[in-house]
């Protein structure tokens, strides 16, 4: 009996070995990512002492993302205005359009969509840049010159992302509300006063706006940390860098959505 099942047993054994190897690799990668993140935080001194480095990176990840953020914000707000009006007028409460647009933007869409755009616009660029620096051995060259690449290259990009993200999310929300105002008040003709007054009485500074800012800061940390790690960890080949760039966008988008659920569950659980 045992001889007839020999090859099946070896297949089973090999698949279990495979699983074990993958688990070990996964845990090792998580550990590496954690150590990398910690090292970035510990070597952040240079990013603030030589703030010019960080400003340069804010330009590349923040300022250059402005166009896509502003235009998408405007259009998301305009679509919200149109769709919200369609639904609200069925119940004769078009005046609540301002509340609908503002709350959905400030609480959810602003931080989340801005974060998704930031991940694909700036996160992918960070990964590709660092991956190529590694592939062309610029990072090793820095180490040879006794320049710490984490302090010189990684930390300024990290802090630039963390600073840029809340500003971009705020701009996205503001643009979206302006878009909703354009469509709702200027185009459709909802009463302007009710639009703003109902919005102001429904949107709370601490509960809604501040929580949105906290969300965007958390997303900024998550996206830049993932992008930097993927770049630093990328295999030093053309294929490796392209794979790492793709992984950055996919992973950070998923992490943003998952984190958003967790944060929302904590922030708005007790609200009516």
């Amino acid at each position: 009996m045992s001889t007839t099942f020999g090859w099946e047993r070896s297949v089973l054994r090999r698949s279990i070995e495979n699983l074990g190897q993958r688990t070990i690799q996964g845990v090792w990668r998580i550990g590496f990512a954690a150590r990398f993140f910690l090292a970035t935080l510990l070597h952040s001194g240079t990013a603030f002492r030589r703030f010019g480095l960080t400003i340069r990176e804010i330009y590349f990840s923040g300022v250059l993302s402005l166009i896509i953020i502003l235009v998408s914000g405007l259009f998301v707000g305009m679509v919200l205005g149109l769709q919200g009006y369609e639904t609200l007028q069925t119940y004769g409460s078009e005046e609540a359009l301002g509340v609908l647009v503002a709350l959905s933007l400030v609480r959810e869409l602003g931080p989340v969509v801005a974060a998704l755009l930031f991940a694909s616009r700036a996160g992918s660029a960070i990964t590709a840049e660092i991956g190529l620096m590694k592939a062309t051995e610029q990072l090793s060259a820095m180490e040879m010159m006794a320049v710490d690449p984490i302090a010189r290259v990684v930390a300024p990009r990290f802090w630039a992302g963390v600073i840029s993200m809340p500003l971009l999310a705020a701009l996205f929300s503001a643009m979206g509300i302006f878009g909703g105002y354009l469509v709702g008040v200027q185009l459709i003709g909802v009463d302007e006063g009710s639009f703003w007054s109902q919005m102001q009485s429904a949107v709370d500074f601490e509960q809604d706006i501040l929580n949105g800012v906290i969300k965007s800061v958390v997303f900024g940390i998550a996206i830049t940390a993932i992008a930097l790690f993927e770049g630093y960890d990328a295999p030093p080949t053309a294929e490796g860098v392209s794979g790492a760039t793709t992984r950055t966008v996919v992973t950070s988008s998923l992490v943003v959505l998952a984190l958003d659920f967790v944060l929302t569950a904590f922030m708005f659980r007790g609200l009516n």
Partner: protein
């Protein structure tokens, strides 16, 4: 790109971001101050304002003529003191009545002004003397049920 141009752009970016945050805090959130240009204020006292909110519209004949500027509670008369900010273009007689109305069955509440026949006009800081409180739906239902019960009671 030269360093100063880069600094300039980042500076502009940060200013725009902070301005957007301020816009969200002041214009969208409830930390707003209202401008006082081209308007005059009158005060109306109500027994019950229902769900009236600050910045709700003030309408006369269905046209928006002003906004509710402030709502406070008078602890001596135990009434609600509602400050109305009316547009300078519209002057109302002294014996104008103010009533709290609801747009639609469940819509937002607003103040309806009905002009009287006095030749004197309302001025800044004047009081509207004749007011009508908000209709509270629950009270209405309660009164109706009470009336029905009275009808059916044996003499």
């Amino acid at each position: 790109m030269s360093k100063t141009v880069l600094d300039l752009w980042v500076g502009l970016f940060v200013i725009a971001g902070v301005a957007a945050l301020l816009f969200l805090a002041l214009k969208v959130g409830s930390m707003s101050t209202v401008n006082t240009s081209d308007s005059y204020q009158v005060i109306a006292r109500f027994d019950n304002i229902g769900g009236l909110k600050s910045r709700a519209p003030v309408k006369s004949a269905g046209v928006v003529v002003g906004r509710v500027a402030d709502i406070s509670f008078d602890n001596e008369t135990f009434e609600a003191a509602v400050t109305l900010r009316l547009d300078k273009r519209y002057a109302f007689p002294k014996d104008t009545t103010a009533a709290i109305m609801t747009s639609g069955l469940l819509g937002e509440q607003y103040i309806g002004l009905e002009a009287g026949g006095d030749s004197l006009k309302l001025k800044d800081k004047d009081r509207i003397l004749i007011t009508q409180s908000a209709v509270v739906l629950e009270n209405l239902i309660g009164q109706f049920l009470y009336g029905k019960a009275q009808e059916g009671a044996p003499e």
